[in-house]
Subunit: 139 residues, 2 copies
Amino acid sequence: MTEQWGIAELAAEFGVTTRTIRFYEDKGLISPERRGQRRVYHPRDKVRLQLIMRGKRLGFSLDEIQAMIDLYDADPSEVSQLQLFLDKLRQRKAQLLGQRDDIEMALDEIDRREKQCENLLNDKQSEPRQPKAGQQASG
Amino acid sequence: MTEQWGIAELAAEFGVTTRTIRFYEDKGLISPERRGQRRVYHPRDKVRLQLIMRGKRLGFSLDEIQAMIDLYDADPSEVSQLQLFLDKLRQRKAQLLGQRDDIEMALDEIDRREKQCENLLNDKQSEPRQPKAGQQASG
DNA sequence: ACGTTACTTTACGTAAACGTCAAGGTAAAG
DNA sequence: CTTTACCTTGACGTTTACGTAAAGTAACGT
């Protein structure tokens, strides 16, 4: 009985405004219980919001997030639907793998720059005056 | 001399419209050579566009992409700037690592659903009639 | 009864990232 | 010289994802 929250609590917990949460409801991404005219949120709604937030962090549009949530919720009984469902899953997977590759590349570049900087900082701290052409490779 | 392109060529190569490329120029993300009033793009502009596209695939705003490109281009000479620069690098890194975690989670979930589907498909194909409660674990 | 608090709907506003004309320049080809 | 292809600069339109009032309601404390 303790696992339910008002919209303001949820908003605070997820670091968004109540407007945002209502907007997601308008879009059909969540559908909380109604007690009178008030919205009452349950754990499943929180799970939904977690999925939404993760999707947003990964740059997906709300429509895409909607589609992904549908994928999680779906329970395809017909074989033809199952095949189609599997295809969709694999598409998302491919997209995510691509994103992961992009991230790896970006991380590699950042790591290079980071080490470059650290070296520079060490050099400057150990020798505040003469720059001294050393054997530090630059590329 | 062969390494230069018109805006239409570039647009075709990157799968965007010329409007998009000009928009990025307006935003200061790229600044091609001008021959007369025409834009002429060189390899470095392609590199920029690659970075932009990667940023977009990862869900960054053009402003953020701008900042990331600045990070790549910057050559901080002052120690104070260097420290600040390093901080920015590490912030980006943290963000990217977070995104990577998100992706791993999403991939895990998809993999589970995928295997679930494959099992269902196999069951249905080997036994089109009786569902027959088998020893296939479901969770 | 009255005010406060927390919520509700309705509706107009806005920033980002382009799309979509409109109107024209220019260089080579016919 | 005109057509054609390709480019240019505006400038207004559109979608997404909310922000921001405005005005109303429902329970709760005093």
